[in-house]
């Protein structure tokens, strides 16, 4: 049973990482940017390309892939989302554009690297360490530690720096913040950059654990969106709680029923939350879920 608790913690750290990376862009862009999923996929594939094909060291490959994905998303924001924002596009229009963009990029990825699963695991698979009857392998330790570190860094960035405060201001009320001369475009660029960098890290951690396939990013992003909705578009602590809740439910279902239902249980939790508690864990009222 303790083993399940450990697995839940590892999974919820990954969920929280993706959910926060998505939330920081979603707050400022004000729509569900589905194209964020390709960042997760692309991060893994770029590391694969650099370490296995070009034989670069892992640390360099990670840094380079973060740089490339951030640049890509900034370009997409500048040349696609920004003109649409200036044209007053509705949220659903922006979301469908990002869905189209995701379909486009995902197929380009599968044209380049093929549909079969790839792995950049050049280290040997070792048996996990034993702690008081619990098994934990090196990768899980790396995931938990780096995930925790990234979350702390993100928290420091958003709470303690000037740019972070501006992002918070724009995502809580963009009209008021434009009156106070806070540039929305700057906030968008910073949050897209930070969100993409976090998502790339998460994508690399996932890819190291479960191997690469072109649709990897989409499933994980959908879980992250479920986490965000059940946490009620709230603060970091609400998202952490939401991630923990989702991971717990999924592992309990996998333990008592079958792991094939892990996918659908996420949406069933989402539906239960929308029905009984539409404002989520944070209890913040949002305009999108009422009537």
């Amino acid at each position: 049973m303790l083993q399940i608790v450990l697995n839940i913690i590892v999974l919820s750290i990954v969920y929280a990482l993706i959910a926060i990376s998505f939330r920081v862009t979603q707050g400022v862009l004000r729509f569900f940017n589905i194209a964020h999923a390709i960042v997760l996929t692309l991060g893994g594939y770029l590391v694969y390309e650099m370490t296995i094909q070009c034989a670069w060291p892992l640390s360099l490959a990670v840094l380079a892939s973060i740089l490339i994905t951030v640049l890509l998303m900034l370009l997409i924001d500048h040349f696609l989302y920004r003109p649409l924002r200036l044209r007053n596009a509705a949220n659903w229009q922006l979301m469908l554009v990002s869905l189209g963009l995701y379909v486009l990029l995902q197929n380009i990825v599968s044209l380049i690297w093929g549909d079969s699963t790839l792995s950049f695991r050049f280290w040997e698979i070792k048996e996990g360490h034993m702690f008081y009857g619990l098994y934990i392998n090196d990768l899980e330790i790396v995931t938990v530690c780096s995930g925790f570190l990234l979350l702390c860094l993100f928290w420091l960035f958003i709470e303690k720096t000037n740019v972070g405060m501006k992002i918070k201001a724009v995502s809580s009320n963009y009209e008021l913040s434009s009156i106070l001369a806070i540039s929305e475009e700057n906030a968008v660029k910073w949050s897209v950059g930070i969100g993409t960098a976090l998502a790339t890290c998460a994508g690399i951690l996932i890819a190291a654990d479960t191997d690469l396939s072109p649709t990897l990013g989409f499933n994980w992003l959908l879980y992250a969106i479920v986490v965000i909705i059940i946490s009620g578009m709230g603060k970091i602590r609400h998202i952490l709680l939401g991630a923990l809740l989702l991971a717990t439910f999924q592992h309990l279902v996998a333990y008592y029923l079958d792991s094939k239902w892990m996918n659908s249980v996420a949406y069933i939790i989402l539906i239960i939350f929308l029905f009984f508690c539409p404002s989520g864990i944070s209890r913040k009222r949002i305009k999108k879920v009422d009537l």
Partner: protein, 295 residues
């Protein structure tokens, strides 16, 4: 010739699907990504009934449409609480749950292996065996659905749908029951989608969950958006275009491994361009002031 007939039948099926989605997505402004799920429910109900119980189509068709309608009623009573991009996401989640049930509930649906040997479409003792007769049947259904939806959208109820897709709160203030209109349009659309599923299952005689994935939902939504949100004829043209597109790719000699990806890339680009051109270049004076501040 056989192949041309096959394509024509597919165009009929996709026209039914896309026109029924346009009732929800176009006229009442709810972008649903769960449409392939209802299509799949129709196909699975008729396949399971006719393979396991050997029941006639006169029973299968109403049962499939009724079941799909009941599920749509339950879902939409919940999903209308959300609007805009939240609604899209919830329908996406529902689509994944339906797919997951088809794929994982192996005792009933036979899982990824699918259901083989579905008998051909038989009604009043007449079996639609040849491609030509089936095309006539599918075209008849498509015409009936087209007639039905165009009448619904011209009726007073259709006017409520149009009004609420433009301004929900204003429509509410005129004393119209917005929630009920949304739910009814969603249920009608789901029932028609399951009708398309019934036709499809008896046509191909073998179904598996891979025909009813989220990609299929995106494809149907793509047809509606490319064809025009309030334009049933445009939807028909778009369905023809997108069904015939892979044939064009084959004609110019793309290998089949790349062709599937190229098709999806085309949908993605089409979705982006069409929505981009749909966003009006309105001069919003508050926005102009805001842009001054942004600089």
């Amino acid at each position: 010739m056989e192949y041309v007939l096959h394509l024509a039948i597919l165009i009929c099926i996709y026209t039914i699907l896309a026109q029924s989605l346009s009732l929800v997505a176009g006229y009442s402004g709810q972008m649903s990504l769960a449409h392939a799920g209802f299509y799949g429910i129709g196909a699975y109900v008729t396949a399971l009934l006719s393979v396991n119980y050997d029941s006639s189509l006169l029973i299968n068709l109403p049962v499939a449409m009724l079941l799909s309608g009941i599920i749509a009623l339950l879902i939409s009573a919940l999903a209308v609480r959300a609007i805009d991009d939240f609604f899209i996401f919830i329908t996406l989640g529902i689509q994944i749950v339906i797919y997951s049930i088809m794929n994982n509930w192996q005792d009933v649906t036979n899982g990824p292996l699918g259901i083989p040997d579905i008998p051909p479409f038989t009604i009043f003792g007449f079996t639609f065996n040849s491609k030509l007769s089936f095309l006539l049947l599918a075209a008849l259904f498509a015409a009936v659905v087209w007639f039905l939806i165009s009448n619904i959208t011209k009726s007073p109820f259709g006017r409520i749908l149009r009004a609420l897709s433009e301004d929900e709160i204003y429509t509410k203030s005129l004393g119209k029951n917005v929630v009920r209109a949304k739910v009814i349009s969603f249920v009608i659309s789901a029932m028609i989608a399951s009708l398309a599923g019934v036709i499809y299952a008896h046509y191909v005689s073998y179904i598996d969950p891979s025909s009813f994935t989220i990609d299929e939902s995106i494809f149907i939504l793509c047809i509606v958006i490319i064809g025009g949100m309030h334009n049933l004829r445009g939807v028909f043209y778009a369905a023809s275009l997108l069904v015939l597109l892979p044939e064009f790719f084959r004609f110019i000699g793309l290998p089949s491994t790349i062709a599937a990806n190229m098709r999806q890339i085309f949908y993605g680009i089409a979705l982006i361009i069409v929505i981009y051109n749909n966003t009006a270049r309105r001069i919003d004076h508050v926005k102009v002031l805001e842009q001054g501040i942004r600089r």
